[in-house]
Each structure stands twice: as C-alpha cells, then as structure tokens.
C-alpha cells in the first residue's frame, strides 16, 4: 500500500495572512512537491507547484445527520490528483475567509477513497491580531475556525500592543484548549509549526495535553510603590461605587515579584472585607479592604505603613478607570516602581469553549457507547472537535478516539500496563454544559 499524502487546511478571515503563509511555505526550500487547492477567490502566483481552484461545494449527506456536510469538490479533486504518476508530497487546502472548516474535516471521515490515499494532517487558522476580536464577536464562522484549529497563528502582532495580544491569546485559549498557539508577524511561521501537526492522528491523540488557562485573578491590577511613611491614594468616580484592594509588602519592584505576590494573596479577595470610607487609613495586612467610592467626586485614602519599603497594591479594577493617582506627604505625584495588569475574570462570554473531563477508574463499554451516541445525536452540531483516551473495563489497552461533530474515529492504543486506569476527554463546543457532561461520563463508570 502506498503511503498516504498529508493534507493541511489553512483557514482564517480575509486579511489574516493565509496567502502570505501559503507563499512562504511554497517558496521555502524544502524539496517537497506541493499541490495547492485554493478557494475560488484565491490568487497566488507560484508556478512550480500545482494550483487548483475549488468552488467549495458543500453537500449534505443523506444519513439523517443535519451537521454532516461534505466538500464534494474536494473528494473529486483529490481523487483526480491521485491518478497522476508523479504524486505530490503534500496538499494544502486554502478555504475562503468565511468558510466553516467543518465540511473539509468531515470529508476525511466519510469518504473511504479519500481516507485511503490522504491524511488530514491539521487545521491551521490564521488570526489577525488587530481585527480578530471584532470577527469573533459577530461571526459564527470565525468561532468555528478557532474551534477547529490544531494550530492558531496570531498574525501581525507588530501592529498591536503586547497586552492586546495577551488578551486575544487568552480568549483563543479559552475557546480552544487543544490548539498550539503561536505569535507571528508577517505570517512568518516556520514550516514545522504548520506542517506535520498530526491533529487527527489517533496515535498522537495519546499525548493529549490540553492547555487550559491558569486560574484567573479576582483583581485586575497590581502596582509597586516605594512608601516611606504616608502616601495618598486618590480616586475619582469610576464604573463601580466601591472597589476591593489589598496592600502587601513586596521584595522587589518587578512584574515577576508582583505575580508571585499575587499567587500568595489572591485568596484574600474571597474573605470578608473591611469597609473603608473616604479619608480613612489603608494599612497593609491580611484583611481585604473595600474602598467606598460614591457620594463625592474625589476619594482619598491614606496608605499608612510602619516600616518604609516596597509595597504592592492590588485592586479589583484598573486604577485608570477611576483616574487614580498616588501622592506623597508633600503632595507631589508619585511614580510606580512596577505594575502589571492581571487577567480580569470576565472578558468575553464566548459560547464556544473547551471542556476537559478526567475520571479515575474504568468505564463500562456499553454504557459509554450509549452515552456517547446519545450525546452526539443531541449535541453533535455543537461539538466541533473531541479527543479522548478511555479506560474501558476488560480492555488491556487504552482506547483513543477523536471526532468532528457527529463523526468519530477510534481504536485501541498502547497497553495500560501498571498505570492506574483513568479516562480523559476534551470537547471543543458551543453551549456545552460541563456539569452535565461530567455527570454523563461518571454514570458510565463500571460497577
């Protein structure tokens, strides 16, 4: 049997840099023969490789599964390519900006001839650092492109602030915990980041390590001040009539020290607070303080310390939202020695997110089967990708599976050996109920 040819799908909104990336891959000196299947609006001009125009013709399967749509044109193009005597080493499929990658991925699940000769290697989604937030807020297709991705390339990071890129990366991560996220400028991603990803490869599904977000902080900002005795923390009216804050000694005036201190003190924000009226003293210490910020147009709090030194102030909101400033005993404006913006808890309520389930013990095969098929019947259209490693009662080997919407593919993997039996599943989907999924899986535990 001849080797299968890897196929990489490039998605991303108009202007995100797909064509730039394509050209980069094609002109890189890699010695591979690459055929490009372009969307109807594509116009790349690289003539040593074969470029084929595709009309992105999608049809619905007759199998009663409403989400099972397939790219018939792709089946046909790939079927014709395989007839050539001089085969290609690799195929790249570029979709139009507005395309949902679902039908492309599903094509590789449903067509036997395509599966026999080709492997879907991965979905690479380019994300325009400047315009992505906008697209994600109002486009289902943009969401789907993020959700389907094995690699997310945040492109044009030189055009926006680092903080904006951080915020975007967090948003992408919360939607898709399985993708690798890379930051690039002119779509200048090294080939090995984009090709041979093995996103649909069951053997590689075994190294399932979703990158879930670190805990989010209950405060948005931290700053370091050199305090000698007293200083004034002055605020004006902002988005909230009150704000929680903590003052704490710190050993260095660096963002790293701030992050370390943040880890130590963040539980204080869930403890009962001491209410401070304007004009009150704000001492350092274990207690959470809530500053009352209503009824006037200026609020002063006295940061009062016994020992001079570096102190960190953590606030629930960003001080600039309250036009806040720091002043010394002489009334002169003080500069911060360091500051850091922490990730706010509620940035976006994206309907698309990743859910990971982990469960110790072996599962009952029949119960699991029934649960999964019921889940895919009812929620298939909302599940973009899923992967899992399952411990099934009576099976010596780990069972690995991966899927797209209602379609999935699974096989026994390596033996469990002495390892304790446990199952891990990751879903990337829309409006998924984590508690219900967890409960459903738990109900499959073998007696």
């Amino acid at each position: 049997m001849a080797q299968t040819i890897p196929v990489t799908v490039l998605t991303g909104f108009l202007g995100s840099g797909k064509t730039t990336l394509l050209n980069r891959i094609l002109t890189e000196n890699h010695g591979q023969r690459i055929a490009v299947i372009e969307n109807e609006f594509g116009e790349i001009g690289v003539d040593q490789d074969l470029v084929i125009n595709a009309d992105e013709e999608v049809f619905e399967m007759n199998n009663g599964c409403i989400c099972c749509t397939v790219r018939g044109d792709l089946i046909r193009i790939l079927g014709n390519l395989i007839k050539r005597r001089d085969k290609f080493d690799r195929i790249l499929v570029e979709t139009t900006g507005m395309a949902d990658p679902g039908p492309v991925a599903q094509t590789f699940f449903v067509d036997d001839d395509t599966r026999e000769s080709f492997d879907l290697d991965g979905v690479v989604t380019l994300v325009d650092a400047k315009h992505a937030e906008l697209h994600l807020d109002d486009s289902e297709e943009a969401m789907a492109q993020i959700a389907f991705a094995d690699v997310l390339l945040i492109n044009k990071i030189d055009l926006v602030d680092a903080e904006e890129v951080d915020a975007l990366e967090r948003r992408l991560r919360s939607m898709n915990a399985m993708a690798r996220i890379e930051r690039v400028r002119m779509a200048d991603a090294p080939m090995e980041q984009v090709l041979d990803v093995g996103g649909f490869d069951l053997r590689r599904a075994l190294d399932l390590k979703p990158g879930f977000l670190e805990p989010e902080y209950p405060f948005e900002w931290g700053g370091v001040l050199q305090l000698d005795s007293k200083a004034t923390f002055r605020l004006r009216n902002g988005p909230d009539p009150a704000m929680s804050a903590v003052l704490e000694p710190i050993h260095a005036a660096t963002p790293e020290a701030l992050k370390e201190t943040a880890e130590r003190i963040f539980t204080r924000f869930s403890a009962p607070a001491d209410i401070l009226q304007p004009g009150a003293a704000f001492p350092p210490g274990e207690t959470l303080r809530t500053l009352v910020l209503t009824g006037a147009d200026r609020y002063d709090f006295t940061l009062a310390v016994d020992r001079p030194g570096l102190y960190a102030l953590f606030t629930e909101h960003q001080p600039e939202e309250f036009e806040a400033g720091f002043f010394d005993a002489a009334g002169a404006k003080m500069d911060l020695a360091a500051e850091h913006v922490f990730n706010p808890e509620h940035t976006h309520d994206d309907t698309v997110r990743s859910i990971a389930l982990e469960l110790d013990g072996a599962l009952d095969g029949a119960a699991l089967n029934a649960w999964l098929s019921r889940l895919l019947q009812t929620h298939g259209p909302d599940i973009f990708r899923m992967k899992g490693i399952l411990a099934i009662e009576g099976e010596d080997r780990r069972f690995v599976f991966q899927g797209v919407h209602m379609l999935f593919d699974g096989q026994p993997g390596d033996p469990w050996g002495d390892r304790p039996r446990s199952s891990r599943l990751v879903f990337i989907g829309r409006n998924l109920d984590e508690a219900a999924l967890e409960q459903g899986l738990r109900a499959c535990l073998a007696a």
């Binding site: 109807e40 009309d55 013709e57 049809f59 007759n62 046909r76 193009i77 014709n80 050539r84 036997d112």
Partner: protein, 347 residues
C-alpha cells in the same frame, strides 16, 4: 484457456481510462502520465502508439462521435480529439475546471463539463449550446441511445436536457446528496446515478417514481446494463451486484449477488454489449467473466497482481475486452465469439 488471445503491456503510469472507438478497431488507454496509447486491434501483435497530451494526468477518455476518434480530458483543462491516424486536436480549454468526464453521441454531439455548465460541441468542434444552471459542478454525463437527451448528474439529483426542438428548462430529478456516475437504461426509461453514499438511485421516467438501490459495501465506481437491458450491474460489493429491471418496474433495493463471493471487492464491472455476460475487475487486480444466467458462472481470466483494476471496456462487437490497473499493467483480450457464447449460455 482456448479461444482467447491476450496482449499486455506495462505503461509505467496508472491507467485512468480505457475505451474502444465507435468503429471497433482501435482501443485507447489513458494514463496518469498525461499520455494516451492507442492499439490497433486488427493487428496480430498490436503495439501501443503513444500520444502525449499533458505533464499531469489524462482524466477522462471516451469514444468520440465519429469512428477512429477519442475524446480526452487533460488536467491542464484541455479537451482533445485524438484520432487513430492523426495528432491530437484541441477542442476546448477550460479556464478553471477539470474535464474529468466526457461524452459523445454518433449523431455528432460532444458534451464537455465546465464547472456547473455543460458545453455541447458539434462534430466540427463548434459550440452549439451551453447548458447551465446546475446546482454544483457536473459529475456524470450521458446521452440517451437516440441522442435526443443528455442526462447530467450533480448535487441533489440529475437534470435531463432535451437537445432537439425547443430546449427550455431541463427535467429535474431530485434526490438529496451528491450524485456521481450516471447511466441510461437501454430502453431509455430509467436513469440511474451512483451516489457518494454507496447507493444507486434510479428514476422511472414513465411512472415518475424513484428508488434508492443498495447500499453497497463501497462507493459504486462503475454501473452498466446487461446486453438485453434486463439487469443493472454495479461494482462496490464482494461479487457483481445486479438489480433486475425485468418487467419495467423499479427493483427492490437489495441487489442479487451474481456469481460467487470473493475476498476482494469488485472495483469495475463492464457488461458485454452482445451477450449475457459481464467482466468484473477486483481490487486485488483479479479479473473474471461472469455469465448473467439463472445460475451465474465465473471464468477467471487473470490472477490478482495486487493493485486494483482501474477500468474495463468491451469493443462494440463484444469480442475484445480491454482494461488495466492502477500500476500501469494494461491488457487486451480477444475472444473467439464461440467461446464467449458458450459461457453466456452456460445453463
């Protein structure tokens, strides 16, 4: 085996199509190396005359409307008429689609798909009509026996175009899904498509009824009709699948399995145009004849060579069987008509 002469060649490129021109004298083999190779079946030891058309693959091959000619579609978008005695003549060049199906009719018509349209050319190569409005790229193309209608398959069904008189809108045959290959029954009453979903779909143009046939184990790659028109034959299972259209009614979905089961699936089936028998080519390269009789008999022709039979064709007189596999082994069997007749009347 007595009563048969075999010639075979290695062409070092996957076979992409085979056919015999309307005069029955020349056979053509299309290859994944961009060449068409022509054999004169009247020669005692035929050799292959090579015509190079493209650097890529020849994607479609069909008999042209006139004798001694072939229609060829190349993967650079060009459609050629290749004549047994001349060089290739370009008939059309498609800007952004591949001519991977072609059809002609001896009345002097050629059909060339161009995306979601079909261009109709006359025998002189002039475009006489453009048939458009199909919901997707055209997949299957077939003229009916009289040349009065052209059937076109696409997403969600097929369209039947009337070619003489007032053309107007085509008759639409609707069924959800992707319809690939297409065939008319010999009496022109039924149109059958092979679908992406491993089934066939048959429309009865007289009663207006339609039926899904199958499913088969694999996607059906070739369909055809027995010489007497009574059987629809298809590949895609572990034996030749047949559906009887004996009394002019649509058959029930489950096929009759003709002949013995094999470990390997039938990749191609091709009905003999004169006798009650068909050639079947398997995924492992095995080749055999199956009689379409009450108790089907099989006559093995070639031992499996490992790679799937890529295409098969009979000459119009039914005495020559041409074919080849995806590794470039191509062959021509020339049978004594007595030998075939004995097999076709085996019981």
């Amino acid at each position: 085996m007595n009563g048969v002469r075999l010639d075979h060649w290695i062409v070092d490129a996957p076979l992409t199509g085979v056919c015999v021109e309307r005069g029955g004298r020349y056979a053509a083999f299309a290859g994944g190396d961009g060449c068409v190779r022509i054999a004169d079946l009247r020669e005692r030891e035929p050799s292959l005359s090579v015509r190079s058309l493209t650097r890529g693959a020849v994607l479609a091959l069909a008999p042209d409307c006139r004798e001694r000619g072939f229609l060829c579609g190349a993967d650079d978008g060009a459609v050629y008429r290749v004549h047994a005695a001349d060089g290739p003549q370009e008939l059309a060049r498609l800007a952004r689609s591949w001519p991977d199906r072609l059809a002609s009719h001896p009345c002097g018509l050629r059909a060339i798909p161009d995306g979601a349209r079909v261009r109709l050319l006359d025998a002189g190569g002039h475009e006489v009509a453009e048939l458009g409005g199909h919901p997707s790229t055209v997949a299957g193309l077939a003229f009916d026996g009289s040349g009065r209608r052209l059937a076109v398959s696409h997403y969600n069904g097929a369209s039947l175009w009337r070619l003489n008189g007032r053309r107007g809108e085509p008759q639409r045959l609707h069924r959800r899904g992707s319809h690939l290959d297409l065939s008319w029954s010999r009496d022109e009453r039924f149109v059958v498509t092979a679908t992406q979903e491993k089934t066939l779909h048959a429309w009865d143009l007289v009663s207006g009824q339609d039926a899904s046939l199958g499913p088969c184990i694999n996607k059906v790659k070739s369909i055809g009709w027995s010489a007497d028109g009574a059987w629809l034959l298809a590949s895609g299972a572990d034996t030749v699948s047949g559906w009887p259209f004996l009394d002019g009614r649509l058959p029930s979905p489950a096929p009759r399995m003709l002949g013995r089961y094999s470990e390997h699936l039938v990749a191609r089936v091709c009905a003999n145009p004169r006798l009650a028998l068909a050639a079947a080519g398997y995924n492992d390269g095995g080749l055999e004849l199956v009689s379409l009789t009450a108790r089907p008999r099989r006559q093995s022709l070639a031992a499996p060579q490992g790679s799937p039979v890529a295409d098969l064709a009979w000459s119009p007189d039914g005495n020559c069987l041409l074919g080849g596999d995806s590794d470039g082994r191509v062959f021509a069997y020339r049978f004594d008509s007595d030998m075939l007749a004995r097999l076709a009347s085996a019981d």
